[in-house]
C-alpha cells in the first residue's frame, strides 16, 4: 500500500487516462481503485434491490392491519414458515448490512482524517456487521416455533 516513489512510473493507466503528473498517484491507486469501483457498483445495484426489499418491508410491517400492533411471536412464526419471506428477510439482512457498512466506510473516508482512527472505526463496523449477519442468519434459518408448543 505504501509504495515507493520509484515504482509507479511503470503502471500508467490504460485508455489514455489522466495526464502524466497523475500517473504516480494512479499507479499506487489501481488495486484500491478496482475494489472501489466494485464497491461503487455494489451500492447502486444493492440499492435498487433494497428499494423493493426495504421499502416493501417497512410498508408491509407498518401500514396494513393496524401496523406493527399486529406483530408478535405468532405473526413472525407464521411469516417465517414461508421460504419466500425467510429468503426476503435474509436478503434484506445481508444486503442492508453490507450496503450500510460500506456507506459508513465511505463516511469515515470522507470525515475521519486520522488513518488510525478511521481503521479502528471501520474495523468496529465490520466486526459488528459480521456478528449481526451471523446472528440474523442463524435465527432466520434455524427458527423453529414448534419448540414452543401452543405459542402460535
Amino acid at each position: 500500500m505504501m509504495a515507493t516513489t520509484t515504482e509507479p512510473t511503470t503502471s500508467a493507466p490504460r485508455g489514455g487516462g489522466p495526464p502524466p503528473s497523475r500517473d504516480l498517484r494512479m499507479g499506487r491507486e489501481r488495486p484500491l481503485g478496482g475494489f472501489e469501483l466494485w464497491a461503487w457498483l455494489f451500492m447502486r445495484i444493492s440499492g435498487l434491490v433494497l428499494l423493493i426489499l426495504a421499502v416493501g418491508h417497512v410498508l408491509i410491517m407498518h401500514i396494513p392491519g393496524g401496523g406493527v400492533s399486529r406483530i408478535d411471536f405468532g405473526f413472525v412464526a407464521t411469516r417465517w414458515s414461508s421460504p419466500f419471506w425467510q429468503t426476503w428477510d435474509w436478503m434484506l439482512l445481508s444486503l442492508a448490512l453490507v450496503h450500510g457498512i460500506n456507506g459508513l466506510r465511505n463516511i469515515t473516508l470522507d470525515h475521519v482524517e486520522r488513518t488510525g482512527v478511521r481503521f479502528a472505526a471501520n474495523m468496529f463496523f465490520y466486526v459488528l456487521g459480521f456478528t449481526l449477519f451471523v446472528l440474523g442468519t442463524i435465527i432466520v434459518v434455524t427458527f423453529d416455533p414448534s419448540k414452543w408448543p401452543g405459542a402460535v
Binding site: 500500500m1 498517484r25 499506487r28 491507486e29 484500491l32 472501489e36 447502486r44 440499492g47 435498487l48 433494497l50 428499494l51 426495504a54 421499502v55 417497512v58 410498508l59 407498518h62 401500514i63 393496524g66 401496523g67 406493527v68 400492533s69 406483530i71 408478535d72 411471536f73 405468532g74 413472525v76 439482512l93 442492508a96 448490512l97 450500510g100 457498512i101 456507506g103 459508513l104 465511505n106 463516511i107 473516508l109 470522507d110 482524517e113 488513518t115 459488528l128 449481526l132 446472528l135 440474523g136 442463524i138 435465527i139 434455524t142 427458527f143 419448540k147 414452543w148 405459542a151
Partner: protein, 134 residues
C-alpha cells in the same frame, strides 16, 4: 491512505459539493446513518425470537408506545427518502446526460417523496394517535 481519502472526496465533490444537490447529499448521509443504526438494534431485537414467545413479546412491548410510533414514522420517512434519492443518484451515474436535467429530476424526486409520504404519515399518525388514546 491520505491520497485515497482525497480522491474519494473529489469523487463526491465533483457531483455534489457546492451544488444545489448538497442538501440531498446531506439528507442522504443522515438518513443512511439513521437507518444503519436502527438496523443494528433491529437485528438484535428480532433475534430475541430465538429465545421464545415470552422473551420476544416482551421486547415488542417496548415498541408499543405512541412516541416510538412517531420514531418509526421517522424511520419509514428515512427509508423512503434514501431509496428515492438513491434511485436519482443511480440514474444520473448510469446516464450522465441526465445531469442536464438535474433540477427537474430533483424536483420530481422531491414531489414523489412528498406524495409517497403523505398517505404513510396519515396512516401511521393515526396508529400513533389510536395508541395514545388507548
Amino acid at each position: 491512505m491520505a491520497i485515497r481519502a482525497s480522491k474519494r472526496k473529489s469523487d463526491y465533490g465533483s457531483v455534489y459539493r457546492g451544488h444545489p444537490g448538497q442538501w440531498s447529499w446531506l439528507f442522504h448521509r443522515v438518513t443512511g446513518v439513521a437507518i444503519i443504526l436502527f438496523l443494528f438494534a433491529h437485528v438484535v431485537d428480532t433475534a430475541v425470537i430465538g429465545w421464545g414467545p415470552e422473551a420476544y413479546n416482551r421486547v415488542l412491548s417496548a415498541y408499543e408506545n405512541p412516541f416510538v410510533r412517531l420514531l418509526e414514522l421517522g424511520l419509514v420517512t428515512a427509508v423512503v427518502y434514501h431509496s428515492l434519492n438513491g434511485i436519482k443518484i443511480t440514474l444520473i451515474d448510469f446516464f450522465p446526460r441526465l445531469t442536464r436535467h438535474i433540477k427537474g429530476i430533483s424536483i420530481a424526486t422531491l414531489l414523489l417523496f412528498i406524495g409517497t409520504m403523505i398517505p404513510i404519515a396519515v396512516i401511521m399518525g393515526k396508529q400513533a394517535l389510536d395508541l395514545w388514546n388507548a
